[in-house]
Amino acid sequence: MSLTLIVFAVVKRDMQQAVKRPSDLLTVFCFFILSSGLFAIGIGPDPELQKNIGVGVIWASALLASILALGELFSGDERDGVLEQMLLVPEPLTVIMLAKIIGHWVVTGLPIVLVSPFLGIFFGFSTNALLVLASSLLLGTPILSLLGAVGAALTLGVRGATALAALLILPLYIPVLVFGSLATNAALIGTEVSSHLSLLVALLIFALVLAPLFVSASLKVALD
């Protein structure tokens, strides 16, 4: 019971912060749109080519935007001394960190999921493909947040933390990118989608179990 209250408090506080300082999440959101747009401009106006490459572009942009969003995930709380208070809570740290990651996903990942169908329209996707794009991102972006949190925790307080976190985490993002874009591409050419989506679900469950453990372990080491 008290654990749910703490989880609720952590998520609520991150929402309050996001509302009071919307610039942080707007940056991530705009970066996602701009980056996809830049690719489209760079490729040129050929609609067939844009349609073929759109999935990869949107997914890769989501990956990069998620890395960009990691900067303040733990470092702000560490600077203020809130993180050590979180470590001292007499409840499992993994659950508290999971709450923090969920909060982070709601403010950075969810907007990307919601705007992705509109980007898909710009790349000339069919309605079915738009749906699959959004649902694959809905399954994929939480994995990005979970893995990203591991990178942020490992590099907490290190010089050039965000760049280093990108080096550590981007390679691990590859399976998400592969299955996410396979699903959407399958929808574009009209073949079966569900197997790719179920693999994403499997990855999500895997990350949900393991990532908070690694995050907690790294944070304990970092604050030791």
Partner: protein, 207 residues
């Protein structure tokens, strides 16, 4: 109640202290004393279980704290060097969050009243970044008002930045905690007179 057994601490390449053994009974006030860099904060972090000692143990009620960390943490109120306040949130939001983390339930109205009584009522609704250093410290220390269920208070430099009036209020809080058989461990560079039945000191530069 609390015992340090043969505790040693290494930071970076250097040994800060070793063979530190003390036992601290209920109702004691313990001041950790020493110049900058002798390891006062490191010792406090070892006591609260944030760091593990290089050798030795911290024992709470006959049991090493590492054995049942969750139980030990229910007994503990730690106010660290930083204030643990988020600059964008209001005093009310900050304290309410910190109390939730400490599993202390306080009525919202009660909390508003307490903030006013604590002399921060004028700052209601303002973000914490607009507060002065001393006001922030005071706000952070407000958690002590609700700390009567936590026998062990560990305070890192609690008096820093406080005005004389706030210091006397804090001293009164500490004294009443000692009177109900709590333990207070603190560091300070200021000379603050706290009346306590058992007064102890660890001089880290002499170990």
């Amino acid at each position: 109640m609390l015992k340090l057994v043969d505790v040693a601490c290494i930071r970076g390449q250097g040994l800060l202290f070793r063979n530190l053994s003390r036992s601290i009974n209920c109702g004691s006030l313990l001041r950790v004393h020493g110049a900058n860099g002798v390891g006062k904060t490191s010792l406090l972090r070892i006591i609260v279980g944030l760091s593990s000692p290089h050798t030795g143990q911290v024992i709470w009620k006959q049991q090493p704290i590492s054995q049942d960390m969750d139980y030990f943490r229910t007994q503990l109120l730690f106010i660290g060097h930083s204030d643990a306040l988020k600059p964008d949130l209001t005093p009310h939001e900050n304290i309410s969050f910190l109390l939730a983390l400490g599993k202390i339930r306080v009525d919202e109205d009660q909390l508003s009243q307490d903030i006013s009584r604590w002399g921060l009522g004028r700052l209601k609704g303002k973000p914490v970044y607009s507060l002065s250093k001393g006001q922030r410290r005071r706000l952070s220390l407000m958690r002590l008002l609700y700390g009567h269920n936590k026998p062990l208070w560990v305070l890192d430099e609690p008096f820093i930045g406080l005005d004389p009036k706030a210091i006397s209020v804090l001293v009164a809080l500490i004294e009443s905690h000692l009177a109900r058989k709590g333990i207070v461990i603190y560091t300070t560079h200021q000379n603050v007179d706290i009346k306590s039945p058992i007064n102890k000191i660890i001089r880290l530069d002499q170990i």
